[in-house]
């Protein structure tokens, strides 16, 4: 421990060490140091270094530190992949576009229900780490956040009764993302068929057609490292400015 502390004492600025270095070394030899003392010495060296730096240097160092931390975090966050499929929905003639969207929403609600998603999680063994440490309901909420259903075009002039939507699923494994997206898409189609059978006039329901089957994502959709770097740089800049303002008066006054 004494060796560590002596090393940490070398981190003080040279000018400070010239004045106080020998007596600090003598104190470290006399004392019985602890882990807390090591941290205290490291923090003391950091503060003393910062008080000798210019405003610009502190800000620059803070920005660089933020950038490095953000880069480290972005590389620690696991990659995730987005699989998407395109589906066309056609309503019976005379159905209002808003009604088509409403009916599609009903089918989607059924497919994305707790029971439906719970069974997909079990069948595909999704989110094993999350399932080990949280209840299934929380895992289902995570899955819901990873599913997107976007309407692309509503009632095109060529076919006023049809619109397209895309089903997206985001997961850490590209192949599993594709498999689960295929499952979600086929459940949407099955759900629609079930709903049509339950209606008095099955001809008045919707027809789902898969335009593009679920894709196998080749490139990860995230994390967005540029975004991470930008946020890190901004946070570091703010931290650097705060430090520069906090430490600047100490060079001239103070206690």
């Amino acid at each position: 421990m004494k060796r560590t502390l002596k090393f940490l004492a070398r981190l003080y600025p040279p000018r400070w060490r010239k004045r106080y270095g020998a007596e600090l070394d003598a104190l470290l030899e006399d004392a019985t140091p602890s882990d807390r003392d090591a941290f205290d010495l490291l923090w003391g060296a950091f503060k003393m270094q910062v008080t000798t730096w210019s405003f610009g240097r502190i800000t620059l160092a803070g920005s660089l530190a933020g950038l490095l931390v953000a880069a480290a975090i972005s590389f620690a966050v696991p990659l995730h992949y987005l699989s998407q499929s395109f589906v066309e929905v056609t309503a019976a003639e005379g159905t209002a576009p808003q009604s088509t969207i409403h009916l599609t929403g009903n089918v989607a609600r059924d497919v994305f229900s707790r029971d439906s998603l719970g069974s997909i999680i079990q069948e595909h063994n999704l989110y094993p780490r999350e399932r080990a440490r949280m209840p299934l309901d929380s895992v289902i909420n995570i899955m819901r956040r990873n599913i997107s259903l976007y309407s692309l075009t509503v009632a095109s002039p060529q076919n006023p009764n049809a619109f397209k939507f895309t089903v997206q699923f985001d997961y850490s494994d590209p192949r599993v993302a594709q498999e689960v997206n295929a499952e979600l898409t086929s459940r949407l189609i099955e759900g629609n068929l079930r709903m049509r059978q339950q209606q008095l006039n099955p001809g008045s329901g919707l027809q789902f057609m898969v335009l593009d089957p679920p894709s196998l994502p080749l490139k990860p959709s995230g994390p967005n490292r540029t975004q991470f770097a930008a946020v890190g740089l901004f946070a570091g800049l703010l931290a650097g400015l705060t430090l520069a303002i906090a430490f600047r008066p100490r060079r001239t006054t103070t206690v």
Binding site: D25, A26, T254
Partner: protein, 97 residues
Amino acid sequence: MSDPTLLVLSSLAGGDKHGYAMMVDIERFAGVHLGPGTLYGAITRLEECGWIRPVAASAKDRRQPYTITAAGREYLHDQLSNLDRVVRAGQRRLKHA
């Protein structure tokens, strides 16, 4: 009280001391362990303010003793008076609570 500046000045008010002796003394009278970084941060600031100054030590000894200056005594006196006012007010209010 855990302000390192006041702790160091209070320690030196009892006589000249080097860093390690201050550390031990502060731990004894205040029950506060000042780490080496905190202690030398306070010593640096106090010397810059002119409230303590180094005193001659033997050439062989690397340990540097410090003494409190007249300005340091005055500053310590003011700070302790303020603290004393706060302590007395607090105690009075506790009695009436």
